[in-house]
């Protein structure tokens, strides 16, 4: 068995593993990223690329404000056009209860300096001229939210890792995690290699629970299926991400650079398990929901539908931090927001690993919390 050593091993080349690996390598650590399949083959490559600070949970808002500042400069950092565009996010309210929950969230968001307003249906239509305002009572709008290309961002980070002299290995599934005393010492992969390092980060997304089990650690992450579709590229007519939280709602955005519409919805009831098959229900239901909001989409053609996993934690917030095994860290349970959290949580995980004290206290996201406070703006 061949043996390799590094300062840190990262399991998983999705956005979280790629970003954390990059910032660790930038600190001078020798990093090896171990990817079971190929980069972006899990949840990251299936997400639709939305980025927002409009959340209801204090820490999530602070982390997202940091992430958005990082996305704004990611082009220069990675020397790669990541297609960041601040088109905003418009959350639509069709009943008083939803409006109330948006107003409560806005109050919290403004405490951290987020530029966000509850706007009238007329103002919603000014931002989205083709919007069907039927039943609409207003919307929560933040112009600094936006979108970026998940592939460009993740591959950009991975290229950066290689440029810094560290490594990314594809087709290497971690099959064993070795512990000596209370410390992680090495991992073994399906390629028959042994990698030794004092630090191992579990960034395996929907499979993070399985990877943690190899170290005897329990991580409460469960995948559930979300489907998505993309249309042909058409002339620009939608700036923000539109979010309709009704039980039969959906969310979609038009990609800034290309003009494709891309979107999904949260099925009711949820579809548990890692299932990436495409359903007939989605390909007929999603177009109905999109056309209800933007009637002019009726003539636009669907190119493709697919599915991916949200890696859900019990409270809908990330699980980031140490585990009972020294040197074994976890960053998972992104609950549908991994791509947007990526830059900030990657940097904060690096700070936690190299200094012990990240610049934003993320201990609320620790593994051994009670998971009682759920996120309302899922």
């Amino acid at each position: 068995m061949s043996r390799r050593t590094a300062d840190a091993l990262v399991i998983g080349a999705g956005i979280i593993g790629a970003a954390t690996g990059y910032y660790l390598a930038r600190e001078g650590l020798k990093v090896i990223v171990l990817e079971r399949n190929f980069p972006c083959s899990g949840s990251t490559g299936r997400c639709i690329g939305g980025i927002r600070a409009q959340f209801a949970h204090d820490l999530t808002i602070r982390v997202m404000l940091k992430s958005i500042r990082m996305f704004q400069k990611l082009d220069q950092e990675l020397n790669e056009d990541v297609e960041w565009y601040a088109g905003g996010y418009l959350f639509l309210a069709f009943d008083e209860e939803r409006k109330k929950s948006f107003l409560q969230a806005i109050e919290i968001q403004r405490r951290y300096g987020l530029k966000v307003d509850f706007i009238s249906p007329e103002e919603c239509c000014r931002i989205v001229p083709d919007l069907n305002p039927e039943g609409l009572i207003g919307g929560a709008f933040c112009p600094t939210d936006g979108q970026a290309n998940p592939f460009k961002v993740t591959y950009g980070y991975l290229k950066g890792i290689r440029r810094l002299g560290s490594e990314v290995i594809n087709g290497a599934e971690v099959t064993q995690i070795n512990i000596k005393g209370d410390r992680v010492v090495s991992v073994v992969t399906s390629t028959g290699e042994k990698f030794s390092a004092p630090v191992v980060l579990n960034a395996a997304g929907p499979w993070a629970g399985d990877v943690a089990r190899l170290a005897g650690v329990f991580v409460p992450v469960k995948p559930d299926r979300h489907e998505a579709l993309v249309t042909e590229a058409v002339e620009r007519c939608l700036e923000p991400m539109l979010v309709d939280y009704r039980a039969d709602g959906c969310y979609f955005v038009q990609h800034y650079g290309t003009g494709h519409f891309i979107g999904c919805y949260t099925p009711v009831p949820i579809v548990p398990g890692h299932r990436i098959d495409a359903s007939d229900e989605f390909i007929t239901e999603m177009p109905r929901r999109m056309i209800r909001l933007l009637p002019k989409l009726a003539t636009v053609k669907v190119l493709r539908q697919w599915a991916g996993s949200y890696e859900m934690s019990p409270d809908g917030n990330p699980i980031c931090g140490k585990t009972p095994v020294d040197g074994f860290y976890v960053a998972c349970g992104m609950s549908g927001h991994g791509f947007m959290f990526g830059p900030a949580l990657g940097k904060l995980m690096q700070e936690l690993i190299t200094t012990g004290t990240p610049s934003i206290d993320i201990s609320e996201f620790r593994l051994d919390r009670t998971y009682a406070k759920t996120e309302t703006m899922k």
């Binding site: 993309v230 390909i283 007929t284 056309i291």
Partner: protein, 103 residues
């Protein structure tokens, strides 16, 4: 496709993926950068993400990978093809009454 530049020299620009207008040169460059699978090249260059869903380009790209790396085209993993088989308008799909079956 052949086309002359301003100096009159002949430049070769072979389009491999017509939907996304990706050239042979761009694909070869990606392979030389270390992207040795159809899945990765798809994510880096968008080949196979256009109207044809990869029917036009994937085999050609598999051959280019074979030429550059020696990995036989027949041994390469092709991306899963996703419905619909050909692009359909949202309005048409929305008019279809889906019968609730077991998921």
């Amino acid at each position: 496709m052949k086309r002359s530049n301003r100096k009159g020299a002949i430049v070769r620009r072979v389009i491999v993926c017509r939907c996304e207008e990706i050239t042979e040169e761009e694909v070869r460059r990606a392979i030389r950068e270390g992207y040795h699978s159809l899945e990765e090249i798809k994510r880096v260059l968008r080949t196979g993400m256009g109207h044809c869903g990869g029917r036009g380009c994937l085999r050609i790209i598999a051959r280019l990978i074979e030429e550059e790396t020696g990995i036989p085209a027949g041994k390469q993993k092709f991306p899963v093809s996703r419905p619909p088989l050909k692009p359909l308008p949202l309005g048409l799909l929305a008019s279809y009454q889906y019968e609730q079956k077991n998921r």
